[in-house]
């Protein structure tokens, strides 16, 4: 695989975003509409105690992914009420066209005391081409289970052979690397299937081998089919010291599969890496692939987890 970088495409500081959001445009994910490509992302506001709350917004591109032709000026999806799994933010959102509706798989965040937060996956549905979404209940569709005890998130859903497939992540442990620091989270990529997109059967195992070490964090899987094979991109990093030290920070990983079950990881074939300098020189994270007019695109974030926006790459033929 080989990707051509098309550069940074969106900087949230250049636009007025709803809900007092300014910085961050994280985990960009695309919905292709007849006359545009709608790219959802998570942006942030600061709440009354100075903590961040992630909210969903979108920006519309023309169909050659060059010009911005619109931006959301409304609340795309409401956060949850007091005590709900998505009370303190939604990050990210994965949108899937499903007949005449658009399904949104949200990762909702709720703050905790001994660890910073927990996450679960919720479902919301749009009947207006992704302009607004209605939540399916107050609770999540996928949350902690016997062997996936916390931090269920980062859903990527696609239909293959009439079956809904979900790739997502689950937490395996919170670990203290330095006694005086709060614990760091460790999470891995897993897979589930569904007949209706609502009720899911989990495989119950980590599907992508670790490369760095057993504490490697793996996030945001995205899958597409091309040339008889399934290709997965994701991001991975060290569990500790990943914010400031570029060596430990997110990179984009790659795996392929013939059957959607068994995945062979080979990051050396990813065909994309951090730049020498510029907006994606220290980290690359939250890849999202989509197909448009015969091309495969990858949206992704760069330095500082997308604080200053997202960029785009296109797969070389």
């Amino acid at each position: 695989m080989k990707w051509s970088k098309l550069g940074k495409k969106f900087d949230p500081r250049e636009y007025a975003l709803p809900n007092n959001c300014g910085e961050f445009a994280q985990s960009p994910q695309a919905l292709v509409i007849s006359d545009r490509v709608r790219v959802y992302f998570s942006t942030r506001e600061k709440d009354s105690v100075g903590k961040y709350i992630s909210r969903i917004a979108f920006v519309d591109f023309d169909k050659i992914m060059q010009n911005i032709i619109g931006i959301s000026n409304h609340t795309v999806i409401e956060l949850g009420k007091l005590g709900c799994f998505d009370e303190h933010g939604i990050f990210p959102i994965n949108v899937v066209r499903d007949r005449n509706r658009v399904l949104a798989y949200t990762t909702g965040w709720n703050r905790k005391v001994s660890v910073s937060a927990d996450a679960s996956i919720g479902l919301a549905i749009s009947h207006d081409d992704g302009l607004t979404f209605q939540k399916q209940g107050k609770g999540p569709i996928l949350s902690a289970s016997l062997n996936e005890p916390f931090l269920i998130g980062d859903a990527y859903v696609a239909l293959h052979g009439g079956l809904y497939h979900m790739w997502y992540i689950y937490g395996t442990k919170w670990k203290k690397f330095v006694e005086s620091d709060p614990p760091d989270r460790i999470y891995k990529i897993a897979h589930a299937t569904s007949e209706d997109g609502l009720n899911w059967h989990r495989d119950g195992r980590q599907i992508i081998a670790d490369r760095l070490n057993a504490d490697e964090c793996q996030a945001l899987p995205t899958v597409f089919h091309r040339d008889g094979k399934y290709h997965m991109y994701f991001c991975y990093r060290q569990a500790h010291g990943f914010r400031k030290q570029s060596n430990n920070a997110y990179r984009i990983g790659y795996a392929y599969s013939n059957d959607l079950i068994n995945w062979e990881r080979d990051d050396s074939k990813a065909g994309i890496d951090v730049s020498e300098d510029g907006w994606d020189s220290e980290m690359q994270c939250y890849p999202h692939t989509f197909q448009l007019d015969g091309k495969v695109y990858m949206l992704y974030n760069g330095n500082e987890f997308g604080r200053f926006g997202f960029g785009l790459a296109v797969l070389q033929e």
Partner: protein
């Protein structure tokens, strides 16, 4: 109507003469019957930690089967550890329900975690004993019953039963958190799930018991016993506000069903209310009804949500509840 004879308090952790890890609370009694004794599992607490908050652990006492007022053994240390960082049961395992399953003993419990915007959350876990109920190990780090679109938080109060080879779990699910002047207060209602193995559950997905104290009534501890062709449920219920004293505190309700799905609530049948004075004069809750040696008994907790221990009552009538 059921007629219970209160026979008094059987255990109060504060009355122990010897040094014990249990300082206060004996909540959510659940029995396991052995040849010579009756083990009463419950949830107890050491003194609060430095931040002033409590942890709650699984514990037990053994009662002489011939004389239930004679305690023959007291649990010396918690028999189920709390969960690791960030898990659903990091801060407590309470309430609980215990059942035998062939060579093992299972405890279903509500795990406690602490949150920022609301004080806590809960989900239901499973731990298993292979030493006849002396110690338990959790089956996994996560819960067996967790949140879903219409059960968004606060799954708790599990009561486990097996009928006709199938597993049933009665439990409660949170409906909403109410804003108050102080801490937010939850509203929760009784629900049910069924399972072939006691591990993978199918939720029934409806509130089972109609509310009597209005939309914000809290219902807990749905203790079900099958007798004479019917399922009988004793449970506790209270107001969502001002429930810490006599006026709004827990009372014991009753409902019956022939199919486990449609329940008729008839609290006046329960026959179990607060006493004139004493340890159960302000509230009675967390009933657990069981049959033993030609008698039917109820264990329950009294004032201050069980801070002051567990009491026992004996069924006087109807007579057809007394084994022939």
């Amino acid at each position: 109507m059921f007629k219970w004879e209160k026979v008094g308090k059987i255990f109060d952790p504060r009355d122990q003469k010897n040094e014990s890890w249990m300082q206060e609370f004996a909540q959510s009694p659940s029995v396991l019957i052995y040849e010579r004794h009756v083990r009463v599992y419950f949830c107890s607490r050491p003194s609060p930690t430095l931040d002033g908050q409590y942890l709650s652990f699984l514990s037990y006492i053994d009662l002489d089967r011939e004389n239930l007022f004679k305690i023959v053994n007291i649990c010396k240390e918690p028999i189920l550890k709390l969960g690791a960082y960030g898990t659903f049961d990091e801060f407590g395992t309470n309430p609980i329900s215990v059942i035998r399953n062939q060579d093992e003993v299972r405890v279903y419990y509500a795990g406690w975690t602490r949150c920022e915007s609301v004080p806590f959350n809960g989900a239901i876990g499973l731990a298993i004993s292979h030493d006849n109920g002396d110690s338990f190990t959790r089956l996994g780090e996560g819960p067996v019953l967790s949140y879903s679109p219409d059960e968004p938080f606060l799954l708790g109060s599990p009561r486990i039963r097996k009928y006709g080879g199938k597993w049933y779990l009665w439990y409660v699910s949170g409906k909403e958190w109410l804003q108050t002047d102080g801490k937010p207060e939850p509203v929760y209602k009784i629900r049910m799930a069924s399972s072939g193995d006691g591990i993978n559950w199918v939720k029934f997905g409806k509130d089972l018991i109609e509310s009597k104290l209005g939309e914000h009534e809290c219902q807990a501890c749905p203790d079900v016993i099958f007798h004479d062709g019917k399922y009988h449920m004793f449970f506790s219920y209270r107001y969502s506000h001002n429930y810490k004293g006599k006026e709004g505190g827990y009372r014991i309700g009753y409902a019956s069903s022939v199919d486990m799905i449609n329940w008729s609530r008839l609290d006046e049948m329960a026959g179990m209310s607060v006493s004139e004075h004493g340890w159960d004069s302000e509230m009675v809750s967390y009933p657990h009804v069981f049959m033993l040696d030609a008698q039917t008994y109820m264990l329950y907790q009294g004032n201050e949500m069980g801070r002051s221990g567990i009491g026992l009552a004996k069924l006087d009538s109807p007579k057809n509840w007394i084994a022939k």
